[in-house]
């Protein structure tokens, strides 16, 4: 069991754990942000470079530091490794550069985009980014495509994280879309606007960190902070049936999968639950979804977000690693 120190906090983790996973076990502000890594998707990560950290000591046996910042989602820990994330100004500066690269071609259409308010790139840019761009050239643009009846693809907004491709490979049983071309002209595409209509294809919307893949049944219906998230479930033959309903009054505006605190889907849900069950009577309510107090989603909602019956003391005094497990159930 290797011991790793991240920003001065030591943790013992199983063999083969990556730095990012170890940081998530510690939790708190030292967890590197990730745009392409997805814990439940195999071989994800390594594309976006937002999770870069500095390894100031390689291991107990070879204490030399690594020469350049490394992608924490792809680097496994070694015994005695020392990692710096937010304590290293070099990493913070490098991450700022990565954010600037991600935003090179990303359009400034947050006021139009349905993802605004729950967009990881928006959060990342707000936290690290510059308020002005230094890019002087035309941004790449693509036509908007309807892939299937329910999903809209805005390729212009895509940051090529490959998450949706991996969902199609690993969660659905047949992939009909992928990334065409290379480099600057790479784009997510299907075989000549082939409809993506698999039972689980809707999960592509949830894994998309930006607004490239959006729900057509919710398109421009409401801003995300004007709908109220509620946990609900139903008996579904194809999936777990555990979802988050985004309620507008008593109407279901949108159905999405439940997400953990890193914005990753806990249980994949099927398209039937996601797109067809838009009646509150289809669902059994479990109570309001926990939303971070400072998130824009909790704006203008006056109801008590924290369920009153939840024992507060237990949440405060559980070990950080356990707390992560608890938040997943």
């Amino acid at each position: 069991m290797p011991k790793v120190t991240i920003d001065g906090q030591m943790i013992e983790v199983p063999d083969g754990t990556t730095i990012l996973q170890a940081a998530r076990m510690i939790g708190g502000p030292i967890v590197p942000p990730a745009m392409c890594y997805y814990s439940s998707l195999k071989t994800s990560g390594g594309y976006c470079r937002t999770c870069i950290v500095k390894v100031s000591k390689g291991s107990e046996k070879d204490p030399r530091p690594m020469p350049k910042p490394v992608a924490s989602c792809r680097t496994t820990v070694m015994d005695g490794m020392e990692v710096q994330n937010i304590t290293s100004p070099e990493v913070v500066e490098a991450r700022k550069g990565v954010v600037e690269f991600l935003l090179l071609n990303h359009p400034l259409d947050c006021p139009i985009c349905d993802q605004a308010g729950e967009c990881h790139l928006q959060d990342l840019a707000y936290e690290h980014g510059l308020s002005k761009t230094r890019y002087e050239f035309e941004r790449r643009t693509f036509e908007k495509i309807d892939i299937g009846e329910k999903i809209k693809l805005h390729m212009t907004r895509c940051i090529l994280c490959y998450r949706c491709v991996k969902v199609a490979d690993q969660v659905t049983n047949k992939r009909v879309h992928g990334v065409m071309n290379r480099g600057d002209v790479a784009e997510i595409s299907t075989y000549i606007q082939h409809a993506v209509d698999n039972d689980f294809s809707g999960n592509m919307i949830d894994v998309c960190p930006v607004g490239a893949l959006t729900d057509r049944t919710f398109r421009f219906q409401s801003r995300i902070w004007n709908v109220n998230p509620m946990d609900a479930h139903r008996d579904c033959k194809t999936c777990s049936g555990k979802v988050t309903l985004w309620m507008k009054g008593n109407d279901v505006a949108r159905v999405s999968a439940r997400k953990d605190k890193y914005g990753e889907v806990i249980d994949w849900i099927c398209n039937d639950c996601r797109f067809e069950k838009k009646d509150a009577h289809d669902w059994q309510m479990d109570g309001p979804t926990n939303i971070e107090r400072h998130s824009v989603i909790s704006q203008n909602h006056y109801s008590l977000k924290e369920p009153a019956h939840k024992p507060l003391l237990n949440t405060l005094y559980t070990a950080p690693a356990d707390r992560q497990l608890n938040s997943n159930n």
Partner: protein, 192 residues
């Protein structure tokens, strides 16, 4: 009874003098003041025939701007509504259909946009929140009415006329004005 503070005073009722008792000097003094005011400049004006000059940055009735080609700037992003402390603004968004590019600047537009003028406190936070320079407060005063329903202003009252523009250039900050001069920024171009 013991007083709570030490500030209480004993009131003495003084006996009035003879000149005070006949009241004439006091009445004449009052008449003098009244007469003086007859020849002074009037403090009031005859509104609405005469209107007072307003400061350029007076925060009065809102306007929803159109761009230089006459397309509505508002894209129904909802930031004004979420910034509004009085929750006076509501809106419904819709997708622009093909052929409406001249009417609406962006792909999404406000199908319904309502400001409840009874709720509005004219703080100007909506204008500050707007990323599209669409909503501005103007130096116009919201007129009175007899019915409460009339104070819910829809797009018919808020959007400026194509040939009847409302000048808000005085309200724009210099940084915004400079930003608008950069032609290759997407913000300053018409989207397709």
């Amino acid at each position: 009874m013991q007083s709570l503070t030490n500030r209480s005073k004993v009131v003495v009722k003084k006996e009035m003098t003879f000149s005070e008792r006949i009241y004439l000097p006091a009445i004449l003094g009052g008449l003098r003041i009244t007469l003086k005011h007859l020849f002074k400049k009037k403090a009031t004006i005859q509104y609405p025939e005469v209107k007072r000059e307003m400061a350029g940055i007076y925060r009065g009735q809102h306007v929803l701007k159109r761009d230089e080609n006459g397309a509505e700037r508002c894209t129904a992003c909802g930031l004004c509504a979420v910034a509004c402390p009085a929750e006076a603004i509501t809106m419904t968004a819709a997708e622009r259909s093909k052929g409406d590019e001249k009417l609406y600047r962006e792909e999404k537009y406000a199908k319904v946009y309502e400001i409840n003028m009874l709720r509005c406190i004219f703080c100007g936070l909506c204008e500050e929140a707007c990323p599209k320079e669409a909503i501005f407060l103007t130096d116009r005063i919201v007129p009175t009415d007899f019915k409460r329903g009339e104070f819910i202003y829809g797009k018919d009252k808020l959007v400026e006329g194509v040939n009847n523009r409302v000048d808000v250039s005085i309200r724009q900050t210099t940084s915004v004005a400079e930003f608008k001069q950069v032609p290759n920024l997407q913000h300053n171009r018409l989207s397709n």
